[in-house]
Subunit: 215 residues, 2 copies
Amino acid sequence: MAPTPKGRATYHHGDLAAALVQTTLEIIDEVGVRGFSVAEAARRTCVSPGAPYRHFADRDALLAAAALEVSRRLRAIYLETAADVGSAQERLATVAGTFVRTAARYRGGLDILFAPGLRATHPELRDSTREFVDLLLPSAFEVVAPGDAAVTAVALLDALHALARGYVAQLLEGKFGDPDDVVEEVATRATRAARALVAGYGVSSGPVGEGCGDR
Amino acid sequence: MAPTPKGRATYHHGDLAAALVQTTLEIIDEVGVRGFSVAEAARRTCVSPGAPYRHFADRDALLAAAALEVSRRLRAIYLETAADVGSAQERLATVAGTFVRTAARYRGGLDILFAPGLRATHPELRDSTREFVDLLLPSAFEVVAPGDAAVTAVALLDALHALARGYVAQLLEGKFGDPDDVVEEVATRATRAARALVAGYGVSSGPVGEGCGDR
DNA sequence: CATTCAATGTATGAGCCTCTCACATCACTC
DNA sequence: GAGTGATGTGAGAGGCTCATACATTGAATG
């Protein structure tokens, strides 16, 4: 009968959408995507279980919003780290390592950013990482053989992306041991692998012919 | 009062565990891991909602069992495809492409095989892919510089694994368009990237120093 | 054979979650 | 200062996971 908010002074929250996104990230860090529930997010934000649905169509929409926030933070970190790297080759290689290190810090965050279901249904998540590509494309061009540079540069970035995500996946699932303990080692490996990849795509690389077919 | 099975002749199913695993794979192909529920699996197998819990401790255990089945099928396919590839370099490169193609066919299957939560909590899933590593290690040894061969060969396989999984992730989330349409293209790209990677780790590769530090 | 028993399935239900709907409250505009 | 749209509350329908008590059956045992 008397809708009085429980843990708050005012009836309206103020900025519930943002608060929910923040809370969502915290919950996911604790219990993972599977353990996350909209109800719990509402509880921690001291609103009724139905309130979140005023701002997000469904559970997935809230998760996607949180993932977008992660993407924003990732980009910021990237800009800090890669700006002061000299050669294009090393810049690309460094990105891979940084990506792995960041994954360890944002843990659950990356879980949603790369959750298969979410990315397939929420295109804005894919767009957000595409902006990353634009950031890196110039470096890729510098590194690649001049022939079909445009195609090859993009292909190189896709390969680097694949490589980094694969390492992150292996890191977070504990393949190499406790993630916190092995971050640095894995980041180093990722950097080295990226270096090898870049070298393989590079100008004077004999073994890798261009436009080579499969099998 | 009278527990009569509904869609069956006999009271006991016969091999409910196996049937559930099969049904689970089908459901996941249709609606993804998120959409899967034990209740639905029970329904399709014409048993009561509680029956599956006689065979699997919880939802995740059933998913893990299904993932293991996928892993078995994957290995079979791999053995067919890679056996008749001549050089070690090309064998490794081919694996990456094959992996991507298989991913497109087993779609949902790979979703669970690589579901972050599952792999982290069910070590048998990680073990199952480790057997893959044993299969490939000899090829990796052939390809790698003789110095610290043991370490480098394993590192190369990790890198290849990372690369392939990353491509699969991008493929299945629709980054390149409808998965069915672009499988071949992506598989080719994966193969090429793998080739570049192998070349980068290879014997006479100047640019990639051994034991090189990060940044 | 009759009996027992472990394995397997059913029925029921507690507790949680997602999402909906009618209604309350508030900030803002005219 | 009344109207209005945005935001929150409370209640609830329907579904799911998992636990528990009970029914059924095939196989081993005497």
